[in-house]
């Protein structure tokens, strides 16, 4: 892909991870969306990945733990993870935070008082709950606060719905965050991930 000519040469993904694709992945897809996340993080030398887990992120979190390239661990709150990757970036190590929609809703203060004013390239992957088949009313309500908060802070954000666009959006967004020293939120739609549904 065009954006691949970055600073760090891509390290080839471990082939065995391709065999571990969830069965619901389309047979036509050469990689699962989780593989795209791993590959794109590696290509951009993002090694530190704290998270607050989400059902949709389970496989991705497993893959991150299985890969010694990454330092990945759970935090008690999303805010805490933002603090950790901010400190790490200032210390010369790049990071990204994984969370769910409701976790993003706890971040307005840290975005407005740390990431944005200190110009820290905070990279967030947000698994989107609350839409396209949500079964919990609270989740659907809190989801509606996410984009207004992002827009009110004039933050870069993209909602990823298509697998074929994911690598381009993720790679370009990460590079933009780092070069412009501004945070970015990548919202992973159920159209990409399958989401979480009542009968799961």
């Amino acid at each position: 892909m065009a954006a691949a000519g970055g600073q760090t040469p891509p390290k080839s993904l471990d082939e065995k991870s391709l065999d571990e694709r969830p069965s619901q992945e389309k047979a036509s897809a050469e990689k699962a969306w989780q593989d795209i996340v791993l590959q794109t993080l590696k290509r951009n030398d993002i090694r530190l990945v704290p998270y607050v887990p989400d059902r949709v992120l389970t496989k991705l979190i497993q893959n991150l733990h299985a890969d010694p390239f990454f330092t990945t661990f759970p935090t008690a709150r999303e805010e805490e993870a933002v603090g950790i990757v901010s400190g790490a970036w200032m210390g010369g190590v790049r990071g990204a935070v994984l969370m769910q929609t409701s976790g993003f809703a706890t971040l307005a203060n840290v975005l407005a008082s740390l990431a944005i004013p200190y110009q820290i390239p905070l990279i967030m992957f947000v698994s989107e709950r609350g839409t396209l088949g949500e079964f919990n009313y609270g989740q659907s309500l809190v989801c509606r606060t996410m984009r207004p908060v992002l827009d009110s802070l004039a933050m870069e954000h993209h909602t990823v719905t298509r697998f074929d666009e994911f690598e381009f959006i993720a790679d370009r967004s990460i590079k933009q965050a780092i070069t412009t020293q501004a945070p970015v939120a990548l919202i992973l739609s159920p159209l990409l991930t399958g989401g979480k549904v009542f009968d799961k």
């Binding site: 530190l48 704290p50 330092t71 661990f73 759970p74 935090t75 008690a76 709150r77 805010e79 805490e80 993870a81 933002v82 603090g83 950790i84 990757v85 901010s86 400190g87 790490a88 970036w89 200032m90 210390g91 010369g92 190590v93 990071g95 203060n109 840290v110 407005a112 008082s113 740390l114 004013p117 200190y118 110009q119 820290i120």
Partner: protein
């Protein structure tokens, strides 16, 4: 102050934040990083003497330890100190478990405990009369947690942590005095100077 919990472990001398911060800075010879929590904690860090390895928080209450953890993970060969108020730590207590689990040996946490939100009008914290922060830290898995009995003990604990093989937490009871100085509120310069101080950036 008399309303504070006075368990045997916490029955320690009431000291002063600026004095303790100055004592800490006087001991640092190896470009150690210091993350100063919101409010008086970083005001006194500023007043004790600006250095390029100081990071001053202007918001995000409670994140001094998580930010310092990030620095410590990124630069395992540099000692990192985090200065945090008791009220701030109450905002983000879960980070003690995260730090205990990751166990970075180059991280030292100092809790400035006056039992009050001094900067907002000295209202007592919910923990003031009932909780022991060092006991909480130990319960979270930070075995190297101790109250400093007095200034000499504080200096001894700082000396000890430099050769520690696990993260360290030092609790200090402090008085109700406000910070001595006021940090210049320029977040981009603060961050850029800090990165220069850590050797991550070169000047333009």
């Amino acid at each position: 102050m008399s309303k504070q919990v006075n368990t045997p472990a916490r029955n320690t001398k009431v000291m002063n934040r600026f004095d303790l911060t100055s004592r800490l800075l006087a001991k640092l010879k190896n470009e150690e990083a210091i993350v100063g929590g919101i409010g008086n904690t970083n005001f006194d860090l500023w007043a004790a003497g600006h250095r390029p390895q100081n990071f001053y928080m202007l918001g995000s209450m409670g994140l001094a330890f998580p930010i310092a953890l990030g620095v410590a993970l990124a630069q395992p060969n540099r000692r990192v100190f985090a200065l945090e108020g008791d009220g701030s730590l109450l905002m983000q207590m879960g980070c003690l478990s995260t730090i205990a689990a990751l166990a970075p040996k180059n991280l030292t946490m100092i809790v400035m405990d006056n039992g009050i939100y001094q900067i907002t009008g000295a209202q007592p914290t919910p923990a003031a009369t009932v909780s022991d922060i060092v006991a909480i830290a130990a319960g979270c898995g930070l075995a190297n947690s101790a109250w400093a009995a007095d200034e000499e003990d504080f200096e001894r604990l700082v000396d000890q942590c430099i050769s520690a093989s696990a993260p360290t937490l030092i609790g200090v009871r402090i008085d109700d005095k406000p910070g001595v100085g006021t940090t210049r509120r320029d977040p981009v310069q603060i961050r850029e100077r800090f990165m220069l101080g850590l050797g991550v950036r070169q000047p333009l």
